[in-house]
């Protein structure tokens, strides 16, 4: 009992420490950079619910993330940057889109699903790119009001970092309980033995829809804070290439490991940000590292860490 409690409390304490240390020590650039890692990591973790548990590889995840970002930005431009309003608008928009996508992918699987989500995501991108009156088109929206909660302004790098950290912790708890809950087990079942699951009376379509909604809600919450890092949102945040980047982050971190998503986004963003300052060949570098991970660490860095801990 005590050991169980300890094994629960230890990661929690480690996570809190990991948030408290930078908040106290890091400079403004690094704080904001860490906030970006946490927000993208949260979105990647939500993608892991689909890929890791459900085997549903989506190339449309950025559409959920980016739609939330636009909804939050538009809400903030018109109604002010209240945190709850912004989170509500963004998450709501993402849930709506997730419901649509969930219905669309009900009968689809494997490569068909990959292409279908790619097409759906690109339709969302086209809308963001062309609906100039609302989204600002290719130039995006700038000059957003900073986030606020009641009397507090949340626009400093430290506030943004803590906000992103809080969101990541909450999302992680939510995702864990989703995986552990019957719905999470059913999702795995629908991936491994779809025939048996439907023979047992489960509806694969409904399971997928609920997984999509959970993933969409979490990605949407992360997406709704994303524009406030730079007080800007642009169509790249909806584009499929961001979806592909999320998959890369997921694989680097480790498919099936929720906290690996944060590790993956940290490693990817750090590689890209720091290596590219030294060489034009940074894509080669990232590509080689990615291939090595696929070849040598099929469960990503998180999987390797778990194996190492077990000895």
């Amino acid at each position: 009992m005590r050991r169980a409690l300890l094994s629960r409390a230890a990661p929690m304490a480690a996570a809190l420490l990991a948030l408290a240390l930078p908040a106290a020590l890091a400079g403004p650039f690094h704080l904001r950079f860490l906030a970006e890692i946490l927000l993208l990591g949260t979105a990647v973790m939500s993608l892991d619910l689909l890929v890791g548990s459900g085997g549903l590889v989506s190339l449309g995840h950025a559409a959920l993330f980016g739609t939330a970002a636009y909804a939050a930005a538009v809400a903030a431009l018109h109604l002010g940057g209240n945190l709850l309003l912004v989170l509500g608008a963004g998450t709501g928009a993402a849930l709506l889109l997730a419901a649509l996508m969930g219905v669309a992918i009900m009968r689809s699987s494997h490569l068909f699903l990959l292409i279908l989500t790619l097409l759906l995501g690109q339709i969302a991108w086209e809308v963001a790119f062309h609906w100039r009156a609302v989204t600002g088109g290719a130039d995006g929206l700038r000059g957003l009001p900073p986030l606020s909660l009641g009397p507090w302004r949340l626009d400093g790098p430290r506030a943004l970092f803590l906000l992103a950290g809080g969101l990541a912790l909450a999302a992680h708890a939510l995702a864990r309980s989703f995986v552990a809950a019957p719905i999470g087990r059913a999702l795995v079942g629908a991936r491994e033995q779809p025939l048996r699951m439907s023979a047992l009376g489960y509806s694969t379509a409904r399971i997928r829809l609920r997984a999509m909604l959970a993933a969409g809600g979490i990605a949407g919450a992360a997406g709704s804070l994303y524009p406030f890092l730079n007080l800007y949102v642009g169509p790249q945040s909806v584009h499929w290439s961001l979806s592909a980047t999320m998959i890369i982050m997921l694989v680097i971190g480790g498919v099936g490991s929720l906290w690996g998503a944060f590790l993956g986004s940290a490693v990817y963003l750090a590689l890209q940000t720091y290596v590219s300052a030294y060489t034009d060949r940074w894509q080669l570098f990232v590509g080689v590292i990615f291939v090595l991970i696929v070849l040598l660490l099929p469960h990503g860095l998180a999987g390797a860490a778990a194996r190492w801990r077990r000895g």
Partner: protein, 412 residues
């Protein structure tokens, strides 16, 4: 080769391991200690390296343009012996991948971690607009080279200097040229459907109509079209008297080649902003498909002001320069002029800005005064015709110049 180490490419002094923060901190501490000695301060400013950060696209759709921009700036620094106004220069380059969020993060890195004294660069207007608030909040002097009209209007900032054109300058002059030379013919407009295309065509149509011309049908096509066949067949069926169009990069190359394949070249006059027929990026890839086309541009390899730069640039093994190599070079010229006027210090940006805007700068774009309202350069806009040069290559040749164009700015 090509394995240029971006930050070290030009100054052997830093080929040794980068001076760690340690030295800077020591210098910073010294500066603080000496702050009470007014006489010592300027001398110190002389010795302290000036850090210039450039944000440009070294991957993604604008890679070739970004490489040209960097090469232009590097050429100027090399010519200046890596010293501007007596201060040694450290030049740091970051890749924005033409993504606004990426550009914003790189700008924050250059400002917050590398502590640059000033920033420059940017090709994509989306990135430029995303950077606007970042650099304004950080109070970092920035030379932004994107060309969205808003950069000189709603998004103007006291910390931003714009030593390049706005889209309006090109769209409106093209309309004036078309009105004068084509006598108000029915001009069909066609462009990539994104911000720049919308601005060029919008400004062209508006000005053309004001001058009494008859704009024809407007066709939009998605950015990054693989095949222009269907569009060109539609244009051929419309039988326009002239076409004003805008595409960039690979779109421009495909459009122009197919323009020739569908036998529109030579039969329908083609006009566009200069980037459509960029000397470095587009013309070498399209053979004689663009021969006879007209464009309005602030850059031309045949403009007298560009001659010295052309020679120096081509001496480094590069082709005849196009927009972004010239822009990178001009940006360096403006930064050099600024530092020379302030004696090498940027401590008082208000004063430095006033000094820069007080008198025009001689650049490869010609004499360049600035509009103090928005920091926007006032530019000569050339009408370039694509002609066959002496060696058979296509050259953007100046046939007319609209002098000293000033963007309407915040009044628009």
């Amino acid at each position: 080769m090509g394995m240029l180490h971006p930050r070290d490419a030009l100054h052997p002094a830093t080929l040794a391991p980068r001076p760690a923060a340690g030295r800077r901190q020591v210098l910073g501490g010294l500066a603080a200690a000496l702050a009470g000695l007014p006489l010592a301060a300027p001398a110190l400013a002389q010795a302290q390296p000036l850090r210039i950060g450039m944000i440009t696209s070294l991957s993604g759709p604008f890679t070739a343009l970004g490489e040209s921009m960097r090469a232009g700036m590097q050429l100027l620094l090399a010519q200046s012996g890596n010293r501007l106004a007596g201060r040694p220069v450290e030049f740091l380059v970051e890749d924005d991948q033409a993504r606004p969020e990426e550009g914003a993060r790189r700008a924050r890195k250059l400002i917050g971690q590398d502590r640059v004294d000033l920033l420059c660069g940017v090709i994509s207007s989306g990135v430029a607009l995303a950077l606007r608030d970042v650099v304004t909040e950080a109070r970092t002097p920035t030379f932004l080279l994107g060309s969205a009209n808003d950069l000189a209007r709603k998004a103007a900032s006291p910390y931003i200097v714009r030593p390049t054109k706005t889209n309006w300058m090109l769209g409106s002059t093209a309309a004036r040229w078309a009105r004068e030379k084509l006598g108000g013919a029915r001009v069909l407009t066609v462009a990539s459907d994104y911000a720049a295309g919308r601005e060029y065509v919008g400004d062209f149509v508006e000005t053309y109509r004001q001058l009494g011309g008859r704009p024809g049908r407007t066709l939009w096509t998605p950015l990054g079209s693989a095949d222009f066949g269907p569009l060109l067949t539609t244009i051929a069926a419309e039988r326009p008297e002239a076409v004003y169009g805008f595409f960039a990069g690979s779109d421009a190359v495909r459009f122009l080649r197919q323009w020739q394949e569908y036998r529109l070249a030579g039969r329908v006059p083609l006009i566009g902003p200069g980037a459509f027929f960029d000397q470095e990026d587009v013309l070498p890839a399209v053979g004689d498909a663009a021969l006879g086309a007209f464009s309005t541009f602030h850059q031309s390899p045949t403009a007298p002001a560009s001659a010295a730069f052309n020679r120096a640039y081509m001496a480094t093994g590069k082709p005849l320069p196009g927009e972004f190599s010239t822009t990178g070079y001009v940006c360096g010229q403006v930064i050099r002029a600024l530092l020379e006027r302030t004696g090498g210090t940027l401590a008082d940006w208000e004063a430095a800005r006033a000094a820069l805007f007080g008198a025009p700068v001689e650049t490869a774009f010609g004499t360049m005064p600035f509009d103090p309202r928005n920091g926007q350069a006032i530019l000569d806009i050339h009408v370039n015709a694509v002609r066959r040069g002496e060696d058979g290559r296509m050259v953007n040749t100046v046939v007319h110049t609209y002098p000293q164009l000033r963007d309407p700015g915040p009044d628009a």
